[in-house]
């Protein structure tokens, strides 16, 4: 009797039928057409072409996720594209508006510093105690590079976190794709043995940055440690301290985002350093989607643990049948498992209850967010490149 039990991938064909895959992709296609309609109305040919490319790209990736039953590889293409194209569009806009990647003090005073999501946890305590936002931006749009304002980024963060939990780090973060791309370059890791205690690094950085942000009343991570200033913007050095701060971010970018991912094939900045990632881990508890391990089927071969880009699987967690709270829902472990023991799962349901349905529901949610937001960044970056030629 056919049951609602898990449909084993080994008993399925290697590929889902093209027709069924297309049917499952249809909602994503319709959503893309809806979300990209407005950017497509832009009169510039470069933007129109960029929208077309982005639409085909996102829809094709989803189609391949359906066709091949796998997630990680296709999601990675999207994420790397996001990570590479964000700096293209952003730096171009910065250069057009200001002529420099260095934020001059005038822009900080005018409240025109763009606000990214990473300082959000650092602002909470000072705001709670003094109703003050320790960031030189604007709450609402204020022209220049202020973009949609701090309230808009906070609103987007909250909305996306409710939907994705720490899936933000796999579908929304416009920085992580760079190191994910670097990690994908070598065929094998040169450094295989990593002390698992480094996984606690993001929590230590979060703790220290929260305390220092409150003490110094400034966004301490942005001022001192953020490696992604190398691909966005930084405070123009006005004195020796500024030069030291800028030197630090260059070193951190070279180490954590370029070199270490190449050596370890891990997302080292995300796994061992990013304080926002630690903060987002808290919201994984609220998310209804998770990865689980069916202990009855697990051998354990620990291939999932080796595949995880953020070391979110340990022998102990595998024994409990779950990932750690740092899991970014990238799907690498599920795709790697030869026994289909690692599965997508909806909390409250039986572990054997149709994991493909759980994966589909998560991917619909994730792609619904990725298309308008990450998609618009991809369009912007592509349009910037195409504008040179068109």
């Amino acid at each position: 009797m056919a049951s609602k039990a898990l449909v084993h991938r080994p008993s399925q064909p290697a590929f889902r039928s093209a027709g069924k895959s297309a049917l499952l992709t249809l909602p994503v296609l319709l959503w893309s057409l809806l979300m990209f309609a407005r950017p497509f109305a832009d009169p510039q040919a470069s933007v129109k072409i960029a929208v077309g490319i982005a639409t085909v790209f996102m829809v094709t990736l989803f189609f391949m996720m359906m066709r091949t039953w796998s997630t990680y590889r296709w999601r990675r293409y999207f994420f790397v594209a996001l990570g590479l194209l964000f700096p293209v569009g952003f730096i171009h806009n910065v250069m057009v508006m200001r002529g420099t990647m260095g934020i001059p003090i005038e822009e900080m005073i005018a409240g025109r510093t763009p606000f990214c999501f990473i300082p959000i946890p650092l602002l909470i305590l000072p705001a709670a105690l003094t109703k003050t936002l320790v960031f030189p931006g604007s709450i609402l749009p204020h022209g220049g590079m202020s973009g949609g304002g701090m309230a808009a980024m906070a609103g987007l963060w909250l909305a996306a976190t409710i939907v994705l939990g720490k899936g933000w780090c796999s579908y929304a973060c416009f920085f992580g794709g760079i190191e994910e791309g670097m990690a994908a370059v070598p065929t094998r890791a040169k450094v295989k043995k990593i002390d698992p205690r480094w996984r606690y690094g993001p929590w230590a950085v979060l703790l220290v940055m929260v305390l220092l942000s409150l003490a110094l009343f400034e966004p301490a991570y942005c001022m001192w440690l953020c490696p992604f200033k190398a691909v966005s913007e930084y405070v123009a050095a006005r004195d020796k301290v500024g030069m030291i701060q800028n030197g630090i971010f260059v070193v951190l970018f070279a180490g954590l985002v370029i070199a270490l991912p190449l050596l370890t094939k891990k997302r080292t900045q995300c796994a061992f350093f990013c304080p926002f990632g630690a903060f987002q881990s808290i919201f994984n508890k609220l998310s209804v989607f998770e990865m689980r391990i069916d202990k009855a089927r697990c051998t354990p071969c620990v291939l999932c643990r080796n595949a995880c880009p953020t070391m979110s699987l340990t022998p102990e967690s595998i024994g409990r049948g779950e990932t750690l709270m740092s899991c970014m829902k990238c799907g690498a472990c599920v795709d790697e498992c030869p026994k289909d023991a690692v599965v997508w799962h909806i909390k409250g349901t039986d572990i054997n209850m149709n994991p493909e349905r759980a994966r589909l529901m998560f991917l619909y949610a994730a792609w619904a967010l990725a298309i308008p937001f990450a998609g618009s960044i991809i369009v912007d970056g592509l349009a910037t490149i195409l504008h040179v030629f068109v």
Partner: protein
């Protein structure tokens, strides 16, 4: 007990997918308005504090802001910001005596050249006429609490308050 929790789980998952669809249309805007309505303000060390009065002069005005006191262990000194606006109407050289606190007594003499190139760096000399303020000599824009910068169509001067 498995079936009810499974139903709950699938319901929550369905709501999550639905929420994702609502984000661009409703949720993002609602959350943005909620954050904007929290009554927070950007740190006055950056923004300069609210404007409290305007001194009208011939052809231009000086906006006086409320003095800003740093929080916690901020390394900036307390300061007061003065805005000369509109910048395009300013004479080539400014030498103004300013009554900052509105008590009828002069507090500062501020001198700076207004350069044609809006992006050119400015320098300011400030003579404190009483003990409440600090004098500044040939100051540019090194620190938030003592600087001269051009922002849009105004020239901002920040003068540190003397420590007691």
């Amino acid at each position: 007990m498995k079936l009810p929790t499974a139903k709950l789980g699938y319901t929550a998952a369905g709501v999550t997918v639905f929420a994702a669809l609502l984000v661009p249309f409703i949720l993002w805007g609602s959350f943005t308005k909620a954050f904007a309505g929290l009554g927070l303000h950007v740190d006055e060390v950056y923004s300069g504090g609210p404007k409290v009065r305007t001194i009208q002069l011939a052809g231009y005005a000086i906006d006086v802001h409320r003095p800003v006191t740093p929080h916690m262990l901020q390394s900036e000194k307390p300061f007061v910001q003065l805005d000369w606006r509109p910048a395009k109407a300013l004479p080539p050289h400014i030498s103004d005596v300013v009554d900052v606190d509105g008590d009828g007594q002069p507090d500062l003499r501020v001198e700076f050249d207004v350069l044609e190139d809006a992006k050119a760096p400015l320098r300011v000399n400030v003579d404190a006429l009483n003990s409440h303020y600090e004098s500044m000599r040939d100051v540019g824009k090194q620190k938030f609490s003592s600087l001269i910068v051009r922002v849009d169509d105004a020239i901002l001067v920040r003068v540190p308050l003397a420590s007691k």
